[in-house]
């Protein structure tokens, strides 16, 4: 099944001018943060070696200001193979013109990724931008004043693309690849910026949520993100085309128990329990002479 929608245009939350430094941006080197340095033999490996994150079994995170930071530590990564729902490939594309190099677009995106997110959503990544092995914490607005707390792992990053992978409990199991490349006559034509999502809903509850409005919300989210990037790059009228393809119509019932990690349920419970937890902390401090 193939569904195609668009062009779609959504106003960004913020309008920020492109700085001279960004205009001259070069790809940021990727200091990998989740493993010791490689030895000489490994360093002589394929040229993608430093673009991939090192292997992790479970995610480790440090507290970050401005986000709750729950539902990430200790979680495993999940790709489309580990998800529950139908498998979707969603492509959001924006023409950036011939004047913007792909490397410039990706460098700007990597450096200012959180600033392009729609209002009400928080992305707390590393201060150095997007680098392989980083874990970013997310608070996503899901309505009713409730924030869904989850995270993403930077799986891959090079000068022309970067990929985020989701942990257990996230709405979807899969990855999002952000890329830019020249298209057109002999590939020296205009730069096209793209976000490509390959995903399955992580569990049956998310599958229901995605079916009843979740996919539409996600489309608006990424269209708004690309539009904000386009405005930052100085495009006068950024337009985002959305294409959605169902790659696999089968649901993977053997992964239905992923619902145990569901971050939406846990976030709601954490929101409800927050005042009680705070009160318990205050009482505990009051009883502890060292804290008085």
């Amino acid at each position: 099944m193939t569904e195609t929608a668009g062009p779609d245009r959504v106003r960004s939350a913020e309008q920020i001018g492109l700085s001279a430094r960004e205009a001259a941006a070069t790809p940021v080197p990727h200091p990998t943060s989740n493993a010791p340095p490689r030895n000489a033999a490994q360093a002589a490996g394929p040229r993608d070696t430093d673009s991939w994150a090192r292997k992790v079994d479970r995610l480790e995170v440090d507290p970050r200001a401005g986000v709750r930071g729950t539902n990430v530590a200790g979680r495993r990564l999940t790709g489309p193979i580990q998800g529950f729902g139908k498998m979707w490939q969603k492509t959001y594309r924006m023409k950036a013109g011939p004047g913007i190099a792909p490397e410039q677009a990706i460098a700007t995106w990597r450096e200012h990724f959180p600033e392009f997110w729609p209002k009400g959503n928080r992305f707390a990544g590393a201060l150095t931008g997007i680098n392989p092995g980083d874990v970013a914490l997310l608070d996503l607005a899901i309505g009713g004043g409730v924030k869904l707390s989850t995270g993403v792992f930077v799986l891959y990053a090079d000068a022309e693309s970067f990929t985020l992978m989701t942990p257990q409990g996230h709405m979807f199991a899969g990855w999002i690849t952000f890329s830019a490349e020249r298209e057109g006559p002999q590939d020296g034509g205009e730069t096209v910026v793209q976000a490509l999502v390959l995903m399955r809903a992580n569990d049956p509850l998310y599958e229901i949520a995605m079916t009843f409005g979740g996919h539409g919300k996600e489309d608006k989210f990424w269209a708004a993100t690309l539009t904000a990037l386009g405005e930052r790059l100085g495009l006068p009228n950024p337009v985002v085309d959305t294409k959605t393809t169902c790659v696999d119509t089968k649901r993977q019932w053997r992964h239905a128990n992923n619902v145990w990690h569901n971050s939406m349920i846990r976030s709601v419970l954490q929101t409800i329990a927050a005042p009680l937890v705070g009160l318990a902390h205050m009482v505990r401090r009051g009883k502890d002479p060292a804290q008085v």
Partner: protein
């Protein structure tokens, strides 16, 4: 879109097993080539598809995504997908992305053909 620098050779081993020798760079741009190799390998008899990555020089995240799409197609045809010839680096990437949970990894062609995973 940049031209892919990849070659794929399809070898039939007996009635049901096909080996695809992958040499060069695996990126999303190679999807048409991989899918046409898959079409050539799937003639109705094939029940096992073995990917030989000994000649793999480069792979980005788009390449991993393409392998997931190939896996879905193979599963639809009730074909088993396996791989061998992965360097330590690429084996680690298969493990990181948890692709190894669906694509069985073997050390060499002999063990892949015999179905003996290490």
């Amino acid at each position: 879109m940049n031209a892919p620098t990849l070659t794929m050779d399809v070898r039939r081993i007996g009635d049901e097993v096909v080996v695809v020798d992958i040499k060069g760079e695996v990126t999303a741009a190679c999807e048409p080539m991989l899918m046409s190799a898959y079409e050539a390998a799937s003639d109705g008899r094939t029940s096992r598809l073995v990917l030989n990555f000994a000649g793999l020089e480069y792979m980005n995240s788009g390449g991993i995504g393409m392998l997931v799409t190939l896996l879905v197609r193979a599963n639809r045809q009730r074909q088993q997908l396996s791989a061998y010839g992965l360097s330590d680096h690429y084996r680690e990437i298969f493990e990181l992305t948890r692709l190894d949970e669906a694509i069985t990894i073997y050390d060499n062609e002999e063990s892949a053909l015999n179905g003996v995973a290490k």
